[in-house]
């Protein structure tokens, strides 16, 4: 086994997902199969190979710091589950 149910529970917490016990079992076995499969990358020697973060060679794309035309507060809040004037509202964070 590459991964245990306990590991999967930990990852679910990191990903802010809640898994029911039955789902946890299925998820563990499917993740295990996938991690077993991707192990084949270790057949390749990649010492000295530069990692590639993008499909085309590209460094930082700078632009002038100019005032643009944002969509505005009303538009930005139109899909919010809960808002208050010009703010998003969330459940209480600090007790």
């Amino acid at each position: 086994m590459k991964i245990t149910e306990k590991d999967v529970e930990h990852v679910a917490r990191l990903a802010r997902l809640h898994l029911a016990p039955a789902d946890l079992k299925v998820m563990t076995s499917q993740m295990d199969a996938m991690l077993g499969y991707v192990d084949k990358l270790n057949e390749l020697d990649t010492d000295g190979v530069e990692p590639m973060a993008h499909a085309v060679p590209m460094s930082n794309a700078f632009r002038e710091d100019e005032i643009g035309m944002p969509i505005g507060i009303e538009r930005a809040l139109q899909n919010a589950p809960e808002s208050d004037g010009s703010c998003f509202r969330v459940p209480k964070v600090i007790e």
Partner: protein, 485 residues
């Protein structure tokens, strides 16, 4: 004559000659959707009122002698594009009630050229899937056999064009999501070079792999659609600032003297014999058209699926962190604080495939595993890209199958995600390498299912690739067949 037999160029001619109005055309298109979509489920949202209003405006513009590339032509777009004041669900329950506050750049470009956007097309949730079965709006059915999948993730885009609901559509291609459904539905689909088309306003899944791509009934219409959407956009810092040629110009340049490579790793044992036969016949056609065919090697092909899924899942886990029930989407609040709200919102809003990918991506990026999985995959990606760059020193284009089998039956693969991932083997490497590729019809199976051919071009050499596809299309009649619906 039925409108669905017309190409974009023919529609334009009729509109400009006054033989047809955009209102008539748009109404016919809406009627076709109404008549066929109960069998296909290709649309998530149909914008009837908005499109008829836009069609009236288009008719006025044409009457005033003003027209652009797509004035008055009804098209549709995958439900991944932000479309002002229209619902954009991305095939997910978590965005069920999301209404876009702005237009994606590709949508703005369609509108600038006068296109009528008649609706939003079904897709795998967050573009994660190869069968269009992972949609909160339900599976899409293949117009050639409604018991089969249309492919994915742009399954709605390919099915709608194949069924004549719209003449052209936009999809997105992260690992084959335009080309594979185009192949399964018998239409033309193109993935541009990474950076060719702006991704601004396209809901993000795997940002370093995805491109916007057109789907159309023939190569010429596909080239026209690419003309409309291609180009640098300051709002997308990964779009590339280099000149965009007119893809319609010199479309009939032919392939005489071109060198086409057959990567031997793509002609493997698992390839369906009917696909092999169709692709072999296509190779012969190219030979007769004057191309030189040579065998080449892309030695790291076998590692591409593992490399791709690690990178795509890692990027997905990061991109999808934004769905937390705060700024948009449906909130589920059990009342036990912020973290509980995040967990319940995400657990109720995401489907199984999306959760699986977020979990694997989170694992691959997590402390202690990052180097072994994510960094390793990024290094292997470099090797895969080098394979392509090296082979393109020898040849102008590569020719391969698109998918190892024709469209499979709905439900056939859902319990085996890994098997489903492996079916993307021929399309994934080009997304990793960032180069351009396209799929177009090259035959049918005994059961009457379409088979697609893939051409892979050099980075930013879409024009050359389209010319080669056009030459094949002119020499054969595969794209003349239409499904009965």
């Amino acid at each position: 004559m039925k409108f669905q037999d017309l190409t974009i160029q023919e529609m334009r001619q009729k509109l400009l000659a006054g033989e047809l109005t955009s209102v008539e055309l748009t109404k016919a298109c809406l009627e076709r959707i109404e008549a066929t979509d109960s069998q296909l489920n290709a649309f998530i949202t149909v914008c009837e009122d908005e499109s008829l209003a836009a069609a009236e405006q288009a008719d006025q513009q044409i009457a005033a002698g003003k027209s652009a590339l797509l004035t008055g032509i009804p098209v549709a777009v995958k439900d991944i594009f932000n479309t002002l004041d229209v619902r954009t669900t991305c095939g997910s329950k978590i965005l069920d009630n999301y209404v876009s506050p702005y237009d994606a750049t590709a949508i703005a470009k369609l509108r600038e050229q006068g296109a009528i956007i008649v609706g939003k097309l079904n897709m795998d949730e967050f573009a994660m899937g190869s069968s269009n079965e992972n949609s909160a709006a339900g599976a899409v059915h293949n117009p050639w056999d409604t018991e089969r999948v249309p492919g994915g993730s742009s399954g709605g885009s390919a099915a709608a064009v194949a069924a004549g609901q719209v003449v052209a559509a936009l999809g997105t291609d992260t690992g084959g999501s335009v080309r594979q459904p185009a192949s399964h539905c018998g239409v033309v689909g193109l993935k541009p070079t990474y950076g060719r088309v702006s991704r601004y306003g396209v809901v993000a899944f795997a940002s370093s792999l995805a491109q916007v791509g057109p789907v159309a009934g023939n190569v010429e219409d596909c080239a026209l659609m690419l003309n409309v959407v291609a180009g640098y956009d300051p709002a997308d810092s990964t779009s590339v600032d280099c000149p965009v040629p007119d893809y319609l110009e010199n479309l009939n340049a032919g392939v005489a003297g071109k060198k086409i490579g057959l990567p031997r790793e793509y002609f493997i044992a698992g390839l369906d014999p009917e696909i092999k036969q169709a692709v072999d016949a296509a190779i012969e056609t190219y030979r007769q058209l004057g191309a030189e065919i040579v065998e080449v090697s892309l030695p790291h092909t076998d590692y591409s699926v593992a490399c791709y899924y690690l990178i795509a899942m890692a990027e997905a886990s990061s991109n999808l962190a934004r769905y937390d029930g705060v700024r948009f989407g449906k909130r589920q609040d059990p009342g036990d604080g912020l973290i509980g709200m995040y967990q319940q919102t995400r657990s109720a809003g995401f489907g199984d495939e999306v959760k699986r990918r977020i979990m694997l991506g989170t694992y691959a990026l997590s402390s202690g595993y990052y180097d072994a999985y994510y960094l390793k995959a990024q290094k292997v990606r470099t090797l895969i890209r080098q394979d392509f760059l090296k082979v393109f020193e020898e040849v102008d284009l590569l020719l391969t199958p698109v998918a190892p089998t024709p469209a499979f039956k709905i439900g056939e693969m859902v319990d085996d995600p890994l098997q489903m991932y492996l079916s993307d083997i021929f399309t994934i490497p080009t997304n990793l390498a960032g180069t351009c590729a396209m799929s177009f019809p090259c035959g049918f199976s005994d059961k009457g299912l379409p088979i697609g051919l893939q051409l892979i071009g050099k980075p930013f050499a879409e024009a050359e690739m389209l010319q080669a596809a056009y030459a094949f299309e002119q020499a054969t009649d595969w794209n003349q067949r239409v499904p009965e619906l």
